[in-house]
């Protein structure tokens, strides 16, 4: 498949103007199943360097499925379409290869791994990434310095870092831990799956600050959320509405406000009418 050409044509036909960065992620006509049921039904999306995309939509629209498919969760099956990341066929890669290519998912429900310390977990992850990129293992001092630096970013308690991965963490601590890991691994594309759910206002602010500080012209984020609330803190360049497995509407931040005010019903109606 000639992915380069596809990327170019996608860029030219993009309905949204003023886009300049290099295309990072290109999703074309993506269809995906879980347990034999089709959830994504032809999704298209292009994400360029330096952009923040918010994906909103009613429950069951396929928002989390998109995150799972992009990261290669084996429970999901891609039946049709293509996803390219920096020109590479992402769907060909294993979950860990995708991670090492620079895709990071902040899980909606971070997994507890009893007995595995955060330190051990992070050091393994960092070294795998370095190995993948042909670098030497990180030295103990560098690693500890990095840990210290990034912990501050999300105001994470020292004690949390010494505990087992997510075990016994509160909902807020788990989400903060996700952003901490994101900071450690420095991804080029981060996907935040309902990172705001279960967070009180202080935790939300800390998490959002962390994300904003990590923003650079050469990386990008996809923020999946049900509510507009998070977008007060993380300002998106684009807002997309996902409904019934497709992106049915795209716009700027104003679209998020409109959704907050009017709910999703009018979108559903519009979709039904155009059918």
């Amino acid at each position: 498949m000639n992915t380069t050409n596809n990327n170019q044509s996608q860029a030219q036909t993009s309905p949204l103007l003023g886009r300049t960065g290099e295309p990072l992620l290109t999703i074309k006509n993506l269809h995906a199943n879980v347990n034999g049921k089709e959830i994504l039904k032809g999704l298209d999306l292009t994400v360029r360097q330096g952009e923040i995309h918010a994906i909103m939509g009613p429950n069951g629209a396929g928002k989390s499925t998109l995150a799972s498919v992009l990261t290669g969760n084996p429970a999901f099956e891609v039946t049709h379409g293509s996803v390219t990341f920096y020109g590479k066929d992402l769907l060909e890669l294993s979950p860990e290869q995708r991670a090492n290519e620079g895709i990071f998912l902040s899980f909606q429900y971070p997994v507890e791994i009893p007995g595995v310390s955060m330190v051990n977990f992070m050091r393994t992850a960092i070294n795998e990434q370095r190995k993948y990129r042909g670098l030497d293992q990180i030295s103990a001092t560098d690693f500890l310095r990095l840990m210290r630096e990034k912990k501050e970013l999300v105001e994470m308690d020292n004690k949390l870092a010494n505990r087992s991965v997510n075990e016994g963490f509160s909902g807020g601590e788990k989400k903060r831990n996700e952003i901490f890991q994101m900071a450690m691994l420095d991804p080029s594309l981060s996907i935040l799956d309902e990172t705001d759910s279960g967070l009180d206002i202080d935790a939300l602010r800390i998490v959002a600050n962390g994300v904003n500080k990590l923003k650079r012209p050469d990386n990008a984020s996809i923020v999946i959320t049900h509510y507009q609330r998070l977008l007060d803190y993380i300002i998106p360049d684009f807002v997309h509405v996902l409904y019934d497995g497709k992106i049915v509407k795209s716009g700027t931040k104003d679209l998020a406000f409109e959704l907050e005010e009017r709910g999703y019903d009018w979108i559903k109606q519009e979709v039904e009418e155009t059918r």
Binding site: P95, A99, F107, P110, V111, G115, F121, A125, E128, Y132
Partner: protein, 478 residues
Amino acid sequence: MAEDILHEVTQADYKYGFTTDIETDIIPIGLNEDVVRLISAKKNEPDWLLEYRLKAYRHWTTMKMPEWAQLKIPEINYQNISYYAAPRKNAPKNLDEVDPELLNTFNKLGIPLEEQMALSGIAVDAVMDSVSVKTTFKETLAEKGIIFCSFSEAVEHHPDLVRKYMGSVVPHTDNFYAALNTAVFSDGSFVYIPKGVRCPMELSTYFRINAINTGQFERTLIIADEDSYVSYLEGCTAPMRDENQLHAAIVEIVVQKNAEVKYSTVQNWYPGDKEGKGGVYNFVTKRGLCKGDNSKLSWTQVETGSAITWKYPSCILQGDNSSAEFYSVAVTNHHQQADTGTKMIHLGKNTSSHILSKGISAGVSNNSYRGLVRVAANAENARNFSQCDSLLLGDKCGAHTFPYMEVNNDSAIVEHEATTSKINEDQIFYCNQRGISTEDAVGLIVNGYAKEVINQLPMEFAVEAQKLLQITLEGSVG
């Protein structure tokens, strides 16, 4: 993909599988009263010990191999085994006299004697095949009145202690393998910690089977006198051989009033190849007696080796307020079989015991936990908590749990919890998403799963145990 990883990892070499080219003194195969007499004579034993051996031998001939375990044990021809093998250069006076080949062996095993003496401060008794080769640090320990020597030396120099305690915890009639061991045991370690002495260093024994067609029947006796403390480590390896090697040991521990003993094992006998050929049959009787009030005994074991394991390190809580612990990680892969667990026998008042067992099965192996908690009629206020978890990696292995609880006193509280599950795929995916391969993820998760047990081990052993788990199981997810 996972299949490939499983394949790759399960091909991992048994890194301890080398043989050592040392002259050995082996007696002909077979077992009868003359062989028992020959062993005793080779060791210049006193008459009482020979008589004890013969009594055990005669009892053994009336017994049958136990069949109740969840094990398929091929028929063993006990007349086809040599019951004594010793490195020929015997009883070195100092390290210089130890066969350099042998020292080299121990270096390969990761237990350089000199280095250990110098750096880690652990006193090591190494038993190769049947004979205790060298006990380090003997002089340092002697200053405190601690006796740490080979069993043979103890028979020679401390016959009263040996005679008093040998067989007092594991009688020669106890079971088939205990009777066999009592008849033909060759050597082992002996420890005596005098009253009020806290052993300043960890005592360690390394066992290795080397010669072909030999059984290893070592015997360990540990006595902790009143108010004393000792931590004892045991490591086991064997070379790769096509034939099965038999290992039937006895460990007896006596814990007197207010004393505490910690006994840790990392067992890595050769498990056989991936087709199930060869490997060690590990049929071991380990038992401690918390004899005095407030005594404490703790067993920790990490079992990764052996083709077949039949082993139940047990505690008899005789003294009032005595307590016991059993921490175990048992891993089986390929065709390995393990039936292991513990027995906690509560006899005294206010006794408590704690059991934590983590079983991990992979390949086509079978892994059973078998445990007994018994509270005698007079054991007022006994407490036990047991937790037994099993983890399954792959769909051709088996995990079994047989906890027996027998309570004869209404003031007892005995609780047992157990779970069996496959390795959590969400955890693996979470690791994958952070760039960690499935192989490494399984290693991480399994080590995390076993951590509570591994944390009980002294540092040097904990590191080795973690490595062993990694080697045996990384990525064994089908």
